[in-house]
Symmetry: C2
Subunit: 654 residues, 2 copies
């Protein structure tokens, strides 16, 4: 997909990827062993960038809202993920070529083939089509673009299918493959129909082989399983949120798109627990209600369209488009976070999940998607998971994953209550007494009402008790009373609902770099990455004017001073020209440069350079450090600094 | 093992563990599902403590020494760990009771049984023995202590075995079991001999089943595999270190001892790459040479003793006890780190590995052990792994995991060189030409010397060439010259050696809490944890004197102010007494408390309380904040603060 950089040039992915690899932002894992698809290592700048994004996330969410951060294990026993539904449902559809053994992910295959056909159609119609770049080193499994014109109606059909490609299940994907004659794109061979492939990595815990487990596919389950402890830690006060930052794993069928679809990835997830009664209000919704989001709603997509509408979140919630305030609050906060770390506002949209995409229990779900050269990519999911997770785990284990709160007004409940004459009951039913008693206790209100009439009319009732006699037990009125009475309830018990903002840090990392990568017109071979100071891997480059030893003490002193202020810095005292040294660090996204020159030795002043404008100011060491600290903490911008410190445009140092 | 708290009281593990669980420092994972042995979750205070320890580690090592931090994947293909030796050797010895199916870790079993017998002997001799605490909830697999006196010589034998229990291989453990008649301690049944159990979790990567992989057992391998890229990133400058912080996994046979032996754990590992020539000097060794360490050397242990010697690291290196400066440098730096985060100096020792314990390639290896109620626990390993890892991976993959450096003085090498007459060579050997040529090129210098004499004497040589004729090929002197010549080498190539300090963060976390846990004589039911301010989960507790609403704005203002200074804080505005609120936070190790009272409303002064002394000072908000920041950053101590701010001993607020 053709996208443009922040300066409006066409984005050159090959250039950016080459920079990423050369400067060791990230690199395929196990490359010297031939690599493993979907696994990447982060080198020093990537590692620092990732840590800074996480740090900002922690500040923006965990600290700002007093969330309870937890760190749960990745190893997860089978039973937990069976209960959560992952063992049965966490799968993609794959289809196999029985001849070659090739395996395809069904939805991706359909998408790719139809896109190739649409492209072929455009070619046939003489329209402009982005040239396909071939990578001769890569074994191509891609669908070929052939110059074949399609019927207008077929074009419309294809476009509609593509707009809702995430909405098909395996059977439907199989139907599309048959209907549109989709084959192995390399050999043209027939494919088997899609079958489910579970995406969890399986292993075995302990020395005996009867304890199967998985690597977690999300950090959420660990948080749900400790809900009752977290609630107690929070002095049983609601609502509250837990949060977790850690790796999760998905055994992708066919990883592609670099960092965007990987098998091991860092997630940051919030589980906000809220009372389902009262419309899931959020106490701070007022603060964000005017935040405007680009929304792509469910209906638009089902109609085969992708038009977004700019909507203040307040309006989206009040109109019912976004299900509730808490969900809306987090959508706005997600956007604020993305903007804070440097994501391009024009490249964010929120896409609502379609019915089939969403888990059956979810009340509503929106993805924050970021525009990249691979198209719109889901980077943050924000789902209302309702009471599903807590309920299933509580049901399975009997654990009290509930909230008990004292009602402000006691609740009066009219209900049929049953009293048994225990003294007579035992001797009458002997060893069956317990079973009969349990069966009576389990009677619903409707049945109790009916039986109270039977009792009045017949002087006895007949109750179903499995395993006792013929399963029907007669109870005479001497043993039992059934009466309508009023019960006053002081305590309310409820299962909280969960709003879950879930961040794929690796995807955000990648999209962010695409958004911030550009080149200067006078040096198009070198990239610049305009990280905001707070997330930049290194904040300051220290450059002595030359390798002259006289500069060294000042460089060291400045390095120590900045380090003490918490500002990461690196020295480049190589013999390359200053311009070249700066350019090398523009590639790493280092926002500031401090030059030590002969003037510095005389009067302890230094030049401070801004990466994006390449403008410089000159000031004392204290002033320079203060300006850097302010810009990193966000209390000043470069524009502010330029206004108050003297511009330096002495010699063009090259 | 009986240990004492920092105030000299007996350490009460049950009390501490109960506190850990109640205040959610950590908790068994999946507890509502019955739990999985060896897996623990960290709750909010534990999560913060862990993050702070990691933060201090990153400052102390990565930032201070400009290490290259990387983040590599946990999923690791089989081939990598086959090459590293883990597939074949990363195992513990387990033995099975064929009747009950019980599985024991052999070394632990021998240890436990002999210890129980020694205890029984002491009882029989009427000596004082620590009472065995029984936990009726736990299924006991422990060896029973029976009142049986042993021969004096047997006692000595047992003690010697226990002192070197880590030094036995499977066969030897089997021998001990037979010799000392060690059975299933619960049933008394016979056990099978020990067999190796590989400790890696296995899984399968991708949709086909032919890509086996493991969860990494250490973070080191990923660092080795990117060595050449890191070297280039470092401008090919040596020495340098990479570092990595992340989870690793060991499928323990029978996890026990809480956080000390778990199946998933956070590691922080450094791989310091150093030129093996020149004695592995370290440029900063001078800075640490006077640091005194408690050393337990190999010979002492093999003699069945555990006596440590206090030795300055400079002396330990110069005497050859510690193999080299770089290893010694890191031992000292490890101790400095441990002290910085609050480990008790009296509870640190460095134990040298015995021969069998150490990998065959290692030059030397020392563990930093911390004393806990479970005994001395390995918390940091520091090994000289020599060139082993880089060599085996380079050999397997052909990747250039080497350093090439220009020699200061070119090196002249006398060697036998071979010239072939290529024009005649081809026609003579035809299709076998390549094979013969390769065989000649592979000849060693010794063989070349011998063959040069043959050539002179016989006018021909005979070379072994597998697969050509009968494997012997005759080459006449017309085709070949062998001469001794001088070659000048300008470039030196070498495989760096690796010094690896490897930190088990979870074990340090646990030992640290044991070292810092104590109780006040006047409130023995409540624990206090004296975390240094820098690692404390929360730095400040904010307490309004009462629930009076007038205090709220000041509390909020102080909270914001501290947060802006990067100081984490929590409010306790419950109706409990101030004393009780402070005591609750002593349990969390919160070092400072700030009280908002009526005086605060009048003049904006606040009391600042120190956790350990419970003393208070009173000052303006700015002064109080400044003191807290200084104490967290370590530029001031409470003693300093008390000297310059007025003591507050107004009403005893209870």
């Amino acid at each position: 997909m053709e996208t443009t950089t922040k300066t409006g040039q066409p984005f050159d992915r090959a250039h950016m990827e080459q920079l990423m690899k050369r400067r060791l932002f990230y690199t395929p894992s196990f490359e010297i062993y031939g690599g493993v698809k979907g696994l990447y290592d982060y080198g020093p700048p990537g590692c620092a960038l990732q840590a800074n994004i996480v740090e900002q996330w922690r500040k923006h969410f965990v600290l700002e809202e007093d969330m309870l951060e937890v760190d749960c294990t990745m190893l997860t026993p089978h039973e937990v993920l069976k209960t959560s539904g992952h063992v049965d449902k966490f799968a993609d559809w794959m289809c196999k070529d029985p001849k070659t053994g090739d395996i395809f992910r069904a939805d991706h295959l359909v998408e790719e083939v139809l896109q190739a056909r649409l492209k072929g159609d455009k070619l046939a119609r003489g329209e402009n089509v982005e040239a396909e770049k071939e990578d001769p080193k890569k074994k191509k499994k891609k669908a070929k673009v052939e110059n074949v014109k399609l019927e207008d109606s077929v074009v419309t059909e294809y476009e509609e299918i593509l707009a809702k490609i995430d909405n098909y299940n395996g059977e439907e994907l199989g139907g599309l493959m048959t209907k549109y004659n989709i084959k192995n794109p390399v050999t043209g061979g027939d494919l088997e129909l899609p079958v489910a492939f579970n995406l969890m990595f399986q292993t075995s815990i302990g020395p005996s082989s009867n304890a199967p487990g998985f690597l977690r596919p999300e950090t959420a389950q660990g948080q749900f399983l400790t809900f009752h402890k977290l609630l107690e830690f929070n002095n049983t006060s609601m609502p509250f949120a837990s949060a977790s930052i850690g790796k999760s794993f998905r055994n992708e069928i066919s990883p592609r798109s670099g960092l965007l679809r990987v098998r091991e990835f860092l997630m940051a997830e919030i589980e906000h627990f809220v009372d389902p009664e009262g419309g899931k209000k959020h106490p701070r919704f007022e603060e964000v209600k005017d935040v405007e989001l680009e929304l792509l709603n469910r209906e638009t997509q089902l109609a085969g369209k992708t038009k977004v509408e700019t909507t203040p979140i307040g309006k989206a919630v009040s109109s019912g488009l976004v299900d509730n305030e808490t969900l809306g609050y987090f959508l706005a906060r997600i956007q604020q976070f993305l903007l804070k770390i440097g994501v391009d506002k024009k490249k964010i949209r929120f896409r609502q999940h379609m019915a089939n995409e969403m888990a059956h229990y979810a009340a509503d779900c929106w993805d924050a998607e970021l525009l990249t050269s691979y198209g719109w990519i889901e980077c943050v999911g924000c789902a209302d998971r309702s009471a599903y997770d807590l309920s299933v785990h509580a049901k399975k284990t009997g654990a009290p994953l509930i909230v008990r709160e004292t009602r402000k007004e006691p609740l009066s409940i009219e209900e049929y209550q049953i009293d048994l004459d225990k003294k007579k009951f035992g001797p009458t039913f002997k060893k069956d007494g317990k079973a009969v008693e349990s069966a009576i206790e389990a009677l619903t209100q409707d049945m109790r009402e009916k039986l109270s009439l039977d009792l009045k009319n017949d002087g006895k009732i007949i109750v179903d008790v499995a395993g006792v006699g013929d399963g029907k037990v007669e109870i005479p009125k001497e043993l039992i009373t059934i009466e309508k009475r009023t019960r006053v309830e002081h305590i309310r018990e409820f299962v909280p609902n969960v709003i879950e903002p879930s961040f794929g840090i690796g995807r955000i990392f990648y999209a962010l770099i695409e958004h911030l990568f550009w080149t200067r017109p006078d040096d198009v071979d070198r990239g610049v990455i305009s990280f905001p100071p707070a997330v930049a891997p290194t904040k300051v480059l220290l450059v002595p004017l030359s390798t002259n030893a006289d500069f060294r003490p000042l460089v060291q002193q400045m390095g120590r001073k900045l380090r003490a202020l918490g500002i990461s810095n690196r020295v480049d005292d190589s013999s390359a020209s200053i311009g070249k040294r700066y350019a090398r660090n523009d590639e790493l996204g280092t926002p500031f440069g401090i030059t030590v020159d002969f003037q510095s030795i005389k009067d302890n002043t230094f030049t401070l350079r801004d990466r994006d404008t390449t403008k410089q100011v000159r000031a004392s060491d204290d002033e320079v450090c203060k300006a850097v600290v302010n810009m990193v903490n966000g209390t000043e911008t470069w524009d502010d600094v330029v206004k108050r410190l003297p511009i330096f445009d002495g010699q063009e140092i090259e």
